[in-house]
């Protein structure tokens, strides 16, 4: 001990810290961009309960287990739960947020491609958690 030079370790720590600063700055910036909700986003109320999803559009129409949206529009989900914690997830569009009873969480996205996508629950919520799935239909505006 003590007879070797320490500067390689300091250089190494410097490199690690610099890389972490880069990671932090990049992540911070992307998060800032994706959290900025467009003003004309339509609100969809999402309710999770054991073990299905309910959606309510701005015009009051309700859907259970499936959700119909249009490309070229922005949507803002207001997510809550009536019983236990669930997690609302459209993996293909990287939408993920917990449905917490007593709270309303918001996340937004704008679908770009027409198609059929999976909606799933990603927080353990009991017996049929594994099958708490829904379907997102994205259609081109008519």
């Amino acid at each position: 001990m003590g007879e070797h030079s320490n500067w390689p370790e300091w250089v190494y720590i410097g490199v690690v810290v610099a890389l972490l600063c880069w990671v932090g700055a990049e992540a911070w910036n992307v998060e800032r961009l994706v959290e900025h909700v467009p003003e004309d986003a339509e609100t969809i109320k999402v309710v999770g309960q054991q073990w299905f999803w309910t959606f309510e559009h701005e015009d009051g129409t309700k859907e259970i287990g499936e959700l119909h949206l249009e490309t070229g529009k922005a949507y803002r989900f207001e997510i809550t739960s009536t019983d236990v914690i669930h997690s609302f997830n459209i993996h293909d569009y990287v939408v993920l947020l917990d449905a917490v009873p007593g709270r309303v969480n918001t996340v937004w996205f704008a679908p770009t491609e027409a198609g059929v996508y999976d909606i799933q629950c990603r927080e353990y919520c009991g017996l049929i958690h594994y099958n708490m799935r829904g379907t997102l239909y994205v259609e081109d505006p008519t």
Binding site: V23, A27, S87, L96, V100, Y124
Partner: protein, 508 residues
């Protein structure tokens, strides 16, 4: 401290002993027993997920109970007690004291583990090792859930008693000639992890009581129907259990600090940098707990704070890796089984850490949170780093405990199979998470990529299972029939620096 070879004793003499090596032996046997039990559950879970649909497990409730008990067992009944086993054997010797500071307290701390383990296994709760309210309050079936809460309560007290004992032994009972800076790094790892336990654990202990009264219906701390907040539980839980992650990993790193210099035939590159990294980790570990909770609807500011807090823990971990590599540089390394496990552990420690950086980068949490990525990530820590370090250390202390040598070739087969298996299971699970598979699910839709990757993971898990069976056979056979170890130099490293044997501890 040859226990069995030259002087066999009846079992009850060991069981009712308060001597640190006897308590250490009890810790060791108990923790390995629970390792095999918890591992068997993991194999069943992997077998169930081999195909979509129902395979060997009858229903989702049984499956949910199995992954809950799997996680609880391996964290609280394998990793923590196995670290205590190593600490009991080595810390008093390293600080040159005759025993732990409080031998009776030590025995009491151990004897709280069997009842705690029995409550968890007989109850078989289903609310995950995280016991999320309001599910755990309004939905989880009793008495399993209540038994889990009591079991964890007992194990928590046991941890605290053990931690007090280690802190006092190291700080107050070390030899007067020995400055705190000269305390070996393995003992330093126990000092820092014990201090983390003392600060972190009481929070969870309180949360458990609140959970229990919530379940009894007399309070509503976490129940939104009664005005409570389930996210408050998440904060209390992770305030304990993010630092607890460091409690689990720090002793394993300490074990590597013992193995790697011995087998490299060089002292550790920088003792002071190892100490500094332990201390920094123990402090910075408290600044990152809510990175588990980005998805609960935290604000941008909160997320930023906890991302920075998480990234701040990385340099300290990186210092350990540097120290290991720099120690091996210029050594003459003998790759006996313990060294292979330690080096494998370093490689996987890096991968696990890199995955952790990705998790903490805020927007990427939308991809990885509660997916199989997370399962792969933390298993690289608990299996790839902690279990690897611990298993390597069990091989290392095998001659010390039994006076005999294990079978070297079987030890190497064990390592190779386990390494291949670990990479197959947990790296595949990272990718599976990127494809969107949620964790904690009993069944999954037959998406071709999901099926293929689940099958690769299951095959890897079976490899690990086979390797562990080989290990069990090796340990049982060798402890009775193994070749007698050369206690001056069991690994043929050509020196008289087989550390534990240099200091003979009299049985009192």
């Amino acid at each position: 401290m040859v226990l069995e070879l030259h002087k066999p004793r009846p079992v009850w003499q060991i069981m009712f002993s308060t001597h640190h090596t006897d308590v250490g032996l009890l810790y060791l046997i108990t923790s390995l027993g629970f390792l095999f039990l918890g591992g068997a559950l993991a194999l069943a879970i992997r077998a169930e997920l081999f195909f979509p649909g129902s395979q060997i497990i009858a229903d989702s409730m049984t499956f949910n109970r199995m992954f809950t008990v799997h996680g609880t067992t391996l964290i609280f009944l394998f990793i923590l007690p196995s670290a205590s086993a190593v600490g009991n054997y080595f810390v008093p010797i390293m600080v040159r004291y005759k025993d732990m500071a409080y031998p009776k307290l030590n025995a009491i701390a151990f004897w709280m583990i069997p009842p705690g383990g029995a409550l968890i296994w007989l109850g078989f709760a289903d609310f995950t090792w995280y016991a999320t309210p309001p599910y755990s309050v309004i939905s989880a079936p009793g008495p399993a859930a209540d038994m889990w809460i009591f079991g964890l309560k007992i194990l928590g007290v046991s941890s605290i008693l053990g931690a007090i004992n280690f802190v006092v032994t190291i700080l107050k009972c070390k030899h007067p000639d020995m400055s705190i800076g000269q305390v070996p790094l393995l003992a330093w790892s126990f000092l820092s992890s014990s201090l983390i336990i003392l600060v972190a654990l009481p929070t969870f202990a309180a949360a458990l009581l609140m959970l229990l009264t919530d379940r009894l219906g007399v309070s509503g701390f976490f129940n939104p129907v009664l005005g409570g907040d389930p996210i408050a539980y998440a904060h209390l839980f992770w305030f304990t259990f993010h630092p607890e992650v460091y409690v689990l990993v720090i002793p394993a790193i300490g074990m590597m600090y013992e193995i790697i210099p011995r087998f490299s035939r060089r002292p550790i590159f920088s003792h002071s940098s190892g100490v500094a990294a332990f201390v920094i980790l123990a402090i910075v570990g408290f600044s990152s707990w809510a990175h588990h909770m980005y998805a609960t609807g935290m604000s941008f500011t909160e997320k930023t704070v906890f991302m920075v807090g998480t990234l701040a823990a990385v340099p300290a971990s990186a210092m350990h890796v540097f120290n290991f590599l720099a120690t091996m540089w210029g050594g003459r390394i003998r790759f006996s089984t313990p060294m292979m496990w330690a080096v494998g552990g370093i490689a996987l420690f890096f991968s696990a850490g890199a995955g952790g950086v990705v998790n903490s980068a805020m927007p990427l949490d939308f991809v990885t949170h509660d997916s199989y990525w997370v399962v792969g990530h933390f298993h690289l820590f608990v299996m790839g780093t902690i279990a690897f370090g611990t298993i390597g250390y069990v091989y290392y202390m095998f001659p010390y405990v039994t006076g005999r040598m294990y079978h070297e070739a079987l030890g190497k087969v064990h390592f190779v199979l386990a390494m291949v298996g670990t990479v197959m299971v947990f790296f595949t699970q990272h990718v599976l998470g990127l494809f969107g598979m949620p964790r904690r699910i009993y069944d999954y839709p037959p998406i071709p990529e999901w099926v293929a990757m689940n099958q690769i993971a299951t095959i890897g898990a079976m490899l690990i299972g086979i390797s562990m069976a080989i290990w069990l056979g090796n340990m049982i056979y060798s402890s009775g029939r193994g070749r007698e170890a050369n206690m001056e130099d069991p690994f043929g490293l050509g020196g008289k620096y087989y550390y534990p044997h240099q200091q003979k501890n009299p049985v009192h």
